[in-house]
Each structure stands twice: as structure tokens, then as C-alpha cells.
């Protein structure tokens, strides 16, 4: 049965849809600046800095080891992976899992995260629900099942209304997620207003991936390095080089710049 198309009062567009977009956007920007103000300094210990650089060096050895002679590569691989005293075999770091209970700075970070992100969302969502209630705001372009009705049509008590017509609260939530790309455009990447990214971080556990994983990272590097072989890139370099004449174009034609400017 074809539903008759509703024609919504254009006042709704002017006074509901647009204000909600503005409100969401402004709240997001304010959240971003507040999160910057409340950011706590992350102090790194010498050991953490050193370990991260060692891991980088090992990775570079795996990737670019083919540019150094075979002997040098094997020497370095031996240093890292040797059974008795290889670096990765022997170094065990004291692992303190950063659970929220034991690490006070993590606790405050989590609290600040919650305050700046979840709380405003709930407050403003509720306020919008209370202010702009009782009417349909917009229609989503795809059909929805009836299960969505109580969720998306909060204030409207019509049994026969198509579930695609949604209330203003759901329009607000749509905006919260939709404006994420706008925030990246205006505030640059990695901004504090990016809600979904923060929720992803909370879901994946500790926000800082380094501390607990140092031992695991070492083990992973050890395995990867064991598997790496040395394929010397310079094996046939002379033949490759001498297959054609050197390109000496432009070597002597440039005027040297005189003076500063």
C-alpha cells in the first residue's frame, strides 16, 4: 500500500532542522577546545622512548636490510635474536597493565573523557527531545521496520506512521555522527570533538597501546626478524648501472644563485 507523502510545514525546516545542526556543530567545537584545555601531559619515561626506538630500528632492519652487506645484516640479526643474549630474547620489561583502578592518571583521563563527551551528548539529546517533541522532523530515505518506531519516534504516538519518519532526537543523533567529517575539515585531524573515534578507543581497551604490550611487541619483532632473509639489493648493481649511459643532463647548465635572494 503506497503511503501518501506527507508535506511538512516548512517552519519545521527553518526552526528545527537547521537549529539542531547548528547546535550540534557548535557543541562539538566547544567540546574540542575544552578537551584541549583539560588535556593532561603524558610523561614518557626514558625506557619507553628507548624501547619504541629499538622497535623502529628492528623494523627498519627487516625492511631495508637488503641495502647493507650480508655480513652486517647477519651481525645485527644475531644481536637481536641470539638464543643466549639477544636483545629481544633477554629483555623483559616490568609490565604494569594500565587498569583504571591502579593508575590514577588513567582514571582522571577517563573521567575527563566522559565529562567532555558523553555528558553533553546526553544532556543536549534530552533537551532537544523535550523541546522539539510532538512532531515529525524528517524522513530517512530508506525504509525501516516497525521495530525502529519506539526508538526513532520518541514523542509521536501514531501507530500507523511509517517508521521512516523520525523525530528531532534522532535527527540530533544523526548529526552527531554525520558532522564528524566536518570537524576533520575545520578542526584538523585528531580533534577532540570526534565522538565515534573516542568511543572506538574506549572499546579497544587502554587508550595507550604501548605500556602493556612492550613484551608482546618484542616477541612479535623477534618472530618477524627470525623469518627475514637477506636479499642483497646490490647483487647485480654494476650490470644494472652500466646497461645504459649516465644521465648527465642539466649538470652544468644551471646558473648558480648569487647572494641571498
Amino acid at each position: 500500500m503506497a503511503e501518501p507523502e506527507f508535506l511538512l510545514d516548512s517552519n519545521i525546516r527553518l526552526w528545527v532542522v537547521l537549529p539542531i545542526v547548528f547546535i550540534t556543530f557548535l557543541v562539538g567545537v566547544i567540546r574540542h577546545y575544552v578537551s584541549i584545555l583539560l588535556q593532561s601531559d603524558k610523561k614518557l619515561t626514558l625506557e619507553q622512548v628507548s624501547d619504541s626506538q629499538v622497535l623502529i630500528r628492528s623494523r627498519i632492519l627487516r625492511e631495508n636490510g637488503k641495502y647493507i652487506p650480508k655480513q652486517s645484516f647477519l651481525m645485527r640479526k644475531f644481536y637481536f635474536n641470539n638464543q643466549e643474549d639477544g636483545f629481544f630474547k633477554n629483555t623483559k620489561r616490568k609490565v604494569v597493565p594500565p587498569s583504571p583502578m591502579t593508575d590514577p592518571s588513567m582514571l582522571t583521563d577517563m573521567m575527563k573523557g566522559n565529562v567532555t563527551n558523553v555528558l553533553p551528548m546526553i544532556l543536549i539529546g534530552g533537551w532537544i527531545n523535550w523541546t522539539f517533541s510532538g512532531f515529525v522532523t524528517t524522513k530517512v530515505p530508506f525504509p525501516l521496520t516497525l521495530r525502529f518506531k519506539p526508538m526513532l519516534q520518541q514523542g509521536i504516538e501514531l501507530l500507523s506512521l511509517d517508521a521512516s519518519w523520525v523525530s528531532s532526537a534522532s535527527w540530533y543523533f544523526l548529526n552527531v555522527f554525520g558532522l564528524r567529517s566536518m570537524y576533520s575539515l575545520i578542526l584538523g585531524q585528531d580533534n577532540g570533538a570526534d565522538q565515534s573515534r573516542i568511543m572506538q578507543e574506549q572499546m579497544s581497551g587502554a587508550a595507550m597501546a604501548m605500556p602493556a604490550d612492550t613484551n608482546k611487541a618484542f616477541k612479535a619483532e623477534w618472530e618477524a626478524l627470525e623469518l627475514t632473509d637477506h636479499q642483497w639489493a646490490l647483487e647485480n648493481i654494476e650490470e644494472e648501472l652500466m646497461s645504459r649511459e649516465l644521465d648527465l643532463d642539466g649538470m652544468f647548465s644551471k646558473e648558480l644563485p648569487m647572494g641571498i635572494f
Binding site: 619515561t45 627498519i60 641495502y67 646490490l234 654494476e238 649516465l246 641571498i260
Partner: protein, 295 residues
């Protein structure tokens, strides 16, 4: 004396952009920086806004290079006033003490920075350069090795260590440092060339072969590296002239050397088009190459 802007007819914005370009490219043209920067600071300080602080830092380091202690002192005072208690400014104060050769005071300054923040790399590196300035190269090498044990990724430090080892004629260890640099910068032809030169200096058939390969790699990365071209020629002819090689290796190396000779001649022909002096140098190169081939 005419000011920079009068001599070159540039505006203060262009001068500021030029300083930024030198900052980003890490140029050490200290006299030019002092000329341009001093005028910017004296005449156009108000227009620069917040850029002025980084310009103060840049000009101060350049002034220390040129023994302009007056200018360095002014810059340091301004920075101290704006950023009291900053470690970056403390390091600059230490550098000024170094320039005045007050090494104990400078060391105390750097130690106080390290007490507050043990991960501060700049202060540690300055202490090592004090040792180098005092001529204590063995200690400098030891300290630099300790530094590199903890900060394995610092490429400038690896390069500095390789230079120190070369000065001590410890070519094996210098080669190790250069290998680190080659791995982290596989497309930089200068590291390949320097590595090849170190291997060539070490001598011995294996090292000569390695050096020939790395000269070739440097040439492959940059066809116009004349030093690498000459190096390729020298290493190939040395291997060919060595009594220990068999016929095939000798033939291959003679082929490489001849190819290098041709390329050198080509390059000098290109350079020699035109002026008389260049024609003389072309002839000189040809004679040199012939003489080396004969011997």
C-alpha cells in the same frame, strides 16, 4: 652600510619567508642569517607577531657562530623574558656559555636540564659536543655510544659518531654507523658514497669489491655524483690490478673501469664545451685516466 632590504630590494615578508626556508632546510649560513635576521629584529619586530620568538632562536644560534655575542645576548634576554623556566631557552643559554668557552658552567646548565627531564636529547648532545670541542674525542665517542644505546633512532648522532670514528681511523666502526644511516635512508646517495669511501680506505680485496658496489649504488641513485664515478673507476682498476684475482674477475673489473672512464670523459666534454680553461681540464683528465690504466 646599506641594509639587506635596500641591497636586494626585498620586503620584510620576503626576508621572514627566507628565514623560514633556511630554518626548515637546516641551513648553516650563519652570516646571512645574522644579516637578514638582525635587520628583521631591529626594524620589523612589531610586525612579526609570534614568529619573532623562533626567529630569535635562529638568529641567536647564527650569532654564536659568527662570534656576535652582543646580538646573541639580546636574543637570549628576550627569550628568557618571554619563556621563563623553559628548557629550550636553558639549552640556548648553555650554548652561549659554550661559545664563550665556559665549559664547566655550560655543563652545569645542561645537567640541570637533565635533572628535570632525563629524556631531553638536546642537552645530552650538547654535552657531547663540549667534549668534542675540548678535544677529548675518546670520551666523546664513549658518551655518544652510550647516548646511541638509548636513542637508537637519532640519525644525526649516528652520522656524528661515524665522523668521530673516521677521525680516529677506526674505519670498521665508522662503516657500522654508516650502515645504520643507509638503512634508514636507502635513497640517499651521499651515505652510500661515504660508506664506499670508508670501505675503500679500509682496503683488502673484499672491502674493495664492496666499495665498488656501493659506488655503483650511489651512481644509480644519482647519476651525476662525480665523486662516486671516480670512486667506481679507482676501485675497479685497483681490483683489476691486484695480483690475487682470477682472469674473469679481472676482465669484469677492467670492463667496469673502462665504462667509468667513458662516462668521465663524457662529463668533462659536457663541461668543456666552450671556454678554453675547460678544454685544458678535459685534456688533463684524459691523460690522468690513461696513466692510471697503464700502471
Amino acid at each position: 652600510m646599506a641594509s639587506v632590504s635596500e641591497m636586494y630590494d626585498v620586503t620584510w615578508e620576503e626576508m621572514r619567508d627566507k628565514l623560514r626556508k633556511w630554518r626548515e632546510d637546516n641551513h648553516r649560513n650563519s652570516e646571512q642569517i645574522v644579516d637578514v635576521g638582525e635587520e628583521l629584529i631591529n626594524e620589523h619586530a612589531s610586525k612579526l607577531g609570534d614568529d619573532i620568538w623562533i626567529i630569535y632562536e635562529q638568529v641567536m644560534i647564527a650569532a654564536l657562530d659568527c662570534s656576535r655575542d652582543d646580538l646573541a645576548w639580546t636574543c637570549l634576554q628576550e627569550l628568557k623574558r618571554q619563556f621563563p623556566g623553559s628548557q629550550r631557552v636553558k639549552r640556548l643559554a648553555g650554548m652561549r656559555l659554550e661559545a664563550l668557552e665556559k665549559y664547566e658552567d655550560a655543563n652545569k646548565q645542561y645537567d640541570s636540564i637533565l635533572q628535570d627531564d632525563p629524556t631531553n636529547t638536546a642537552a645530552r648532545k650538547r654535552k657531547i659536543s663540549i667534549l668534542k670541542a675540548q678535544g677529548k674525542s675518546a670520551e666523546a665517542i664513549r658518551e655518544l655510544n652510550e647516548y646511541l644505546e638509548q636513542f637508537v633512532g637519532d640519525q644525526g648522532a649516528w652520522h656524528e659518531l661515524s665522523e668521530l670514528y673516521i677521525n680516529e681511523h677506526d674505519y670498521g666502526k665508522a662503516a657500522f654507523c654508516l650502515e645504520e644511516l643507509m638503512m634508514t635512508n636507502p635513497h640517499n646517495h651521499l651515505y652510500c658514497e661515504q660508506y664506499a669511501e670508508v670501505k675503500y680506505t679500509q682496503g683488502g680485496l673484499e672491502n674493495l669489491e664492496l666499495s665498488r658496489k656501493y659506488f655503483a649504488q650511489a651512481l644509480k641513485l644519482n647519476n651525476r655524483n662525480m665523486r662516486a664515478l671516480f670512486g667506481l673507476y679507482m676501485s675497479a682498476s685497483h681490483i683489476a690490478a691486484s695480483p690475487k684475482v682470477n682472469a674473469t674477475v679481472e676482465k669484469a673489473n677492467v670492463k667496469y673501469a673502462t665504462w667509468a672512464t667513458n662516462q668521465i670523459n663524457r662529463a668533462y666534454q659536457l663541461a668543456g664545451r666552450g671556454t678554453k680553461e675547460n678544454k685544458c681540464s678535459v685534456k688533463a683528465v684524459e691523460e690522468m685516466l690513461e696513466s692510471i690504466t697503464m700502471s
